[in-house]
Amino acid sequence: MTLIARRLAGHLARGFVMIIVVATISFFIINNIPGDPMAAQYDKLLQSGMSPEAATQAVKVLYGFQPTGSLWQQYTDYIGGLLHLDLGTSVSRPGQPVLGVLGEAAKWTILPVLGGTLLSFLVGVILGVYAAIKRKSKLGDALAISGSLLHGIPQYVLAMLLVVIFATLIPILPADGPVDIMFEPGFNAGYLGSLAEHAVLPIATYALSAYGGWVLAMKSSVVTVLGDDFILAAELRGMKRSIIFRYIARNAILPLFTILALSLGLLLGGAVFIEKIFNYPGLGWLLIESINTRDYALMGGAFLLITAAVIVANIVADLFYTVIDPRVRSGEDST
């Protein structure tokens, strides 16, 4: 379809600009770090008897750009490396390319994020419909307030409360790392069981902290659709309640799919707190780790990947919308 192709092209162009912007931010931050670690490293290598060329090369491998030359030269060098997917080499894990480290970490982020988000979406949407229909009763009020509260509580507070309750006061669930080290990694029951057990609290935290948002969004969406003319029209045509309910649900849930895609993208970066508290070696954990160990190439790479996830999520959300909403599909924006 040409419309999809046209939209996709526009998104890709904008996404590219965003990547460059983020890379530029990373560049200037690394360039402005107090104490100038790059120059220090360069000088150290020179003093250890390396030739200037070899030292330059070594620093470049570490940081992704040369320590000498004009700012512009350093900048183009850095961006050029990015375009070749060369994110440099990790300092804290000598010899490992940043890309590989990121890939390893992403594995630990994606599963809990996906599980928690989908779980909260399912529960939140169902309860949101209920909160909208019962919005004048005590129960509906309670649902909405619980939604606002859970939505309002910062993720790290929720995570800590869960740890305190389920790992300290009533120690029934582990809260330390992604898996028990006593098990051999692989497809055996012990390892997988431990993996699942360790994932319960992080997934519960994701789910609880996102749940409130879904309840509120679905509630307001359903309330809006309930006021639409076509619902009254269907009622006056004597449509069955079950069919009317389906009409409401489909129309109300449509805008939420966009938010779902966007939040999946944002969660990759938002996982920082949960991964830190539960000691999960995912992308957020890696970002903090790289900052604490002054691993600049890794930090830049993690930041870039997290932003790229948001951009991709944006594109997916838009294309998805184009596919499921007939109004967008036919290329005209009514309502």
Partner: protein
């Protein structure tokens, strides 16, 4: 043929300003919980402003009472240096609230100015500004803050508020722009122009008062996010140690005192945690009330 002959009478919309405080009072009265929200926020403001005056600059430590569980003498127990947790929470509130205030001012000034400008001028300026806002909304805030923390140490609450404000005005700008455009669509601005009013008058006397509620609500949401972000940054330990700070308390409680393993240190963790929860509750209740005052759709029929 048929002619529309009866003019559809638009009921004269009552000006929001006149009925505003009346509406506020009605909404507050209907659900006392909302009044509680206002009281909680006021209480925190009071705590931040005057709380630290009741304590010496250097809180007394007691090496005989290190990391104690809550007791009558220490309601939330003591920290690993034997200091009273409640006193730490109260003195720590100033940093949080002061930076929140700075954030609030910046989001409002920046967001409103840019939103108004965008919605008023439209055209090229509008699309450029909105593109920038979009970009800002696309870059995930927390990771950006973490990365920024490498070069900027956020030494004072003012600096912290400044950075958070500069990162957080996007939402307010969008809301203000949307409002300006909708007022414009309703012929509001053209009508005022037709009456010979100056741009300054239109903005200051007509536009701003009618969207003050939206600005206030979005500001509150931005500020809430900023409070969480700054406590979170200290909690993650990417910023240098800062005395009397909720985030630092959380960090020390979890990663040094082992509050999540030893029940004795639980008070040290729960002190700041409950403070954040209470602040959240207050803000949620106030936003809920504002929502109903300004969003007629949600108002009960």
């Amino acid at each position: 043929m048929s002619t529309v002959l009866i003019p559809e009478t638009a009921s004269a919309a009552a000006t929001m300003r006149r009925n505003f405080w009346l509406g506020v009072w009605r909404v507050m009265k209907r659900k006392p919980s909302r009044l509680a929200g206002v009281i909680i926020i006021a209480g925190f403001a009071f705590m931040g402003a005057f709380g630290p005056m009741f304590y010496p600059d250097q809180l007394p430590d007691d090496s005989n009472a290190i990391t104690q569980a809550p007791s009558w003498a220490h309601w939330f127990g003591t920290d690993p240096q034997g200091r009273d947790v409640l006193a730490l929470v109260i003195t720590g509130s100033r940093y949080v609230l002061l930076s929140a205030a700075v954030t609030a001012v910046i989001t409002v000034v920046f967001g409103t100015t840019l939103g108004l400008f965008s919605g008023f001028k439209r055209g090229r300026w509008d699309s450029v500004l909105m593109r920038i806002t979009d970009m800002k909304l696309t870059i995930p805030g927390l990771p950006l803050l973490l990365v920024l923390a490498m070069v900027w140490k956020f030494g004072s609450p003012i600096q912290m508020g400044l950075v958070l404000g500069l990162l957080g005005w996007g939402g307010v700008a969008r809301a203000v722009r949307a409002q300006t455009l909708s007022l414009r669509e309703r012929g509001f601005i053209e009508a005022a122009r037709g009456l010979g009013l100056s741009t300054r008058h239109i903005i200051g006397k007509e536009l701003l008062p009618s969207m003050a509620p939206y600005i206030a609500m979005n500001m509150l949401i931005a500020v809430t996010g900023a409070v969480y972000a700054q406590v979170g940054l200290f909690f993650l330990g990417v910023l240098p140690y800062e005395a009397n700070n909720w985030g630092v308390m959380l960090n020390l409680a979890v990663f040094q005192a082992g509050a999540m393993i030893t029940p004795n240190a639980l008070g040290y963790l729960l002190g700041p945690l409950l403070a954040i929860l209470l602040l959240t509750l207050g803000i949620v209740l106030v936003v809920d009330a504002m929502d109903e005052i300004f969003n007629p759709r949600l108002r009960e029929e």
